[in-house]
Symmetry: C3
Subunit: 436 residues, 3 copies
């Protein structure tokens, strides 16, 4: 962490730093409100200039109402011998999220109505919540559940649901223009790593990286509880966001090493879609292409009719599409430093491309004479180098109507290599960036 303290992070090798940060956040019992959420945001605020907002319970947000705040201190099930067979202290997944308090002795038959396990994954504790209907419940491995003997059980949940607030954090990073790139991640899941901690740690490191570099765009980065948090944020910022946001990314599931995945915006043709697809096709051509029908995170709000923000998701293994999803198996063995680095890199390349994505126009009619500028072999042979060909192709398509992404798509050269060629040609006075 020396680098970190000295503020000189090697962003090409920050996977371990991100993994350590995820480890710090892992044990906290987050939910869509409450002290676990606050504590998480406080830890993030030590890393980046996070601004915290509290929105009172009962506040109307579009069709929804901010719920009462939930906090929990402990919970267990004891068998008739007094042995704790399930304990919140072992993993906070053991309690159904938003469980009401309970302290009672119940028969096994009664207890069973409040238990959740996965027969197909007998060693996994599932993740279950009940935000909008009051109930209590415990989640446990199916193996443990099957060993429960007849008899009475003492169930105890030390929680409360009370007027309070929903907490979220945001970072606004100014750039040369007021046009904004929007990054959103969520912080409402208890001890799970790919979905969710990979999201906030990659977001945190993207903010650190953005702060070190010149920025054409302004950046709006938010850390919110999923669904109710994104709705709350939208309800307070929609006008400004609709005016300024040119591209957005929902940051989730960025930490395992098994796949790259893409989920488009509703219309599928926004700048964010074009950027993400260009990067993925060149950098990870084996990526999994989902459709908007496979959505399941905050793009559900960002892309809803009337909101219509250009938000996509670039992910590693997508929520719902890997076996450990929403169970205790989604842990910090599944998420690795290399996996996080890969997730960080692919989003960073998207942001880089956005920053570099200008429309280009040649400065002369016909092909320029690259030779007298030292950019072309002076001897004609049957082969001309790949770079010369790429330069000629860039010039051939630089008619002022195509941006870097479109030229890249036309000529099959990665946008970031084109960006470097465009700089060479710009320095030679042969190419200018124009507004599209």
């Amino acid at each position: 962490m020396v680098n970190d303290l000295m503020n000189v992070i090697d962003f090409d090798a920050c996977g371990l730093d991100m993994h350590r940060m995820a480890s710090k956040l892992f044990p906290i019992c987050r939910s869509i409100t409450g002290d676990g959420l606050r504590k998480t945001l406080a830890i993030i605020a030590r890393e980046i200039p996070l601004q915290i907002t509290e929105v009172p319970s009962g506040t109307r947000v579009f069709d929804w109402i901010v719920p009462r705040e939930w906090n929990i201190r402990g919970a267990w099930i004891k068998d008739s011998s007094g042995r704790r067979i399930v304990d919140f202290a072992d993993t906070n997944l053991h309690v159904v999220g938003y469980s009401t308090p309970v302290d009672a002795t119940v028969s096994l038959a009664e207890l069973e109505k409040h238990l959740y396990s996965l027969p197909s994954q007998p060693d996994a504790v599932p993740y279950i919540t009940s935000y909008y209907e009051e109930r209590w419940g415990f989640c446990l491995t199916h193996r443990c559940r099957q060993e429960l003997a007849d008899g009475d059980y003492h169930v105890f949940i030390d929680s409360d649901l009370s007027e309070g607030s929903l907490t979220y954090g945001e970072v606004l990073i100014p750039g040369e223009t007021r046009d904004e790139i929007f990054l959103s991640t969520y912080v409402c899941h208890p001890s799970m790593a790919n979905n969710e901690l990979s999201g906030p740690v990659v977001a945190t490191y993207l903010v650190k990286w953005l702060l070190t570099r010149p920025r054409r765009y302004s950046y709006r980065v938010i850390f919110v509880p999923e669904t109710i948090g994104s709705l709350t944020y939208l309800s307070r910022n929609l006008d400004s966001m609709r005016r300024h946001v040119v591209a957005g990314f929902n940051l989730t599931c960025l930490g395992d090493g098994r796949a790259y995945s893409f989920l488009p915006s509703r219309n599928g043709d926004t700048l964010a879609d074009r950027v993400a697809l260009n990067v993925l096709r060149h950098e990870h051509p084996e990526f999994i292409q989902y459709t908007f029908l496979d959505r399941g995170s905050d793009e559900r709000q960002y892309c809803s009719p009337g909101v219509d923000l250009p938000v996509v998701s670039v992910m590693r293994s997508k929520y719902g599409a890997y076996p450990e999803y929403h169970t205790s198996l989604d842990d910090l063995n599944l998420v690795t430093p290399a996996g996080l680095q890969g997730g960080f890199d692919v989003v960073r390349m998207c942001l880089d491309l956005l920053e570099n994505n200008y429309f280009f126009r040649t400065t002369c009619l016909g092909e320029p004479q690259l030779g007298r500028r030292g950019l072309y072999p002076t001897l004609s042979t049957r082969e001309s180098s790949q770079q010369v060909q790429e330069m000629m192709n860039l010039l051939a398509f630089a008619d002022g109507t195509a941006d870097l992404i479109e030229i890249s798509n036309c000529i099959g050269v990665p946008a970031r290599r084109l960006h470097s060629l465009a700089q060479t040609l710009g320095a030679a006075g042969l190419l200018t960036a124009v507004s599209g």
Copy 2:
């Protein structure tokens, strides 16, 4: 027919009724003019409020002229022994349509010039006409023809071609709006069942069904002789039809049980095309897709340049594409009650979808909270029901620019299930129909 008399038809099981009606019409010798056509329309007029129009021979219709009226009372070929080897009384297909009268004794060599048979289908009597050039002729099985011995034959056709009129029928059914759905079928073929009687009987039962239900659209249903009849009708109604018709269907070949088929409009992208393709893709995904180049019925007129009506054909086995087509084998064994019911149902679903095809818009920003309306499971698990997902997808695409068909195409859910979900969401105040 008790149901029919009491006017309470079960339209989900009216195949047998339609088959009986076809049986009544089958023996009549129809042509593009004449008493057989009149008698056919009179039988239909007993079932539905058909308005009959007579258009005099010699009337100019676009590039055509209504021909003289043709009637026939009998016809036969006798061999030298006086035996009737071909008799119109057996099947009216035996005489070439529009044959001039003849009463002569001819040699076999001379007779052969007036005979038509099918070597490849030796037991079938082909269907042949000569509307616009005077000739006489007989159609017979190839087997029969091959048995003809040398010698003289007495040929006799008791027909006449004289000034008269072309007859057609129409039903105009008013709806809430003046926008019209157009249904066209033809009534000019003698004893053949799939092409043609399936068309007029399905049209008749569609009219019965339409009369029992509220209608957003008005309906224009016509029973005309093919080509000259549709041209005649167009020449008298084109302005009004171009103003009002939003979708049309040419009703033909709707009675066998072997296939579903689709023939698009010339441009292929009209409302009629979209409706028919949506219904067929979901209800009969194995349907045969033809192109406009495969056309051969009255869409040739309805989709011609300058007419440009949005007319498609949804069929069972398409004319020209089944071996019995235009022969005596196209009979009431080929056309079955179940075949007719299937043909009726698929067109009825198209009309239903047209009636239900509104543009939809959500009433709130972001996703609505379905949970507090009892439309969403209160407990989050890894799976949400198919219906919830379909509702969420409907809401996600209900941005006011997409009609039910487009939403159905986007989310892969049959339009009629979407219609029912839209009603549920509408009742919950979450969705409204808007004009597109």
Copy 3:
């Protein structure tokens, strides 16, 4: 050549004439300037009314400058025994184009720096130039090069680079309208046949053919040195060409018999693209489709941003895509009379289609009654002839918004057959040509 003198060429069988003309031009040492180029244009000017233009060295053309003029009289390498091991008199490919004069004795090691050969094609002399950087060099077979013994060599090139001019030729053929078809070919390569002599000889015979026929379009045909010549021509004619040129063809590689090839314009959707693709798909469906990324001739200038002329290349074996390209093996055995005839024919068909490519509209509503015009069988049978069907399809799509090419593409009938049907229907008063 009797036919030629009498000015009655059989353009369906002029391959041998073209091959003889190529033979006359073959030995001349052409380059992008100089007397070889002038002599070539003079020979062409004996065949067609070619107008010659000289553009002085030093003239600025867009980003380029017309280079000094290069002329060469002789060149050789002698070994220490005085034997000429390489001699310009054997083939002009032996000298690197634009070689500066030299007369020196050099060691083998020094000589090697100035030698070019192809290890993979040991019997071929490669074609090498150095227009914009002064050097001298010799090209030879790799076999010959490998036999060079240690020792001194006498190298001699009797050339000069001096102020002079760049020469090009053009033919302007007026037509009924000022709209122009543009044909461009190049005349700057020494003794090579497919790339390049097939281009100028086919261009010459196209001009002869155009002069014999009525012309809706005007034609602009140019014979220029590649790159610097097309840039020079553009720099003097761009405004007029942008106003008038509706379609253009770069004529190159039209003489071998192995393939047909197509290289589109930058945007790929110009009239020239549509014409060429229609012709090739029907006449040579096995043609090789290249993309604009495979370009390599003067379309690089004609399709550059800001120039944007609708120019494509219809070729036999494309430059760079056959093994003999840019070597001494690209000779008059590779290029054959039949190969040249095929190249001539395919371009001629493109020009024919352009001349005949009108928008068509039917003159009546509904289908016309072809029968009473003798264009339709009077007896209905199950089959109607292919020609009737093609006529009906032509009429069905002749709505005034589609040109002959689009109708051909819609109905799958070669445009030239459609043209003939359109004439029949036009003569019958059923179809008129309209402006699109």
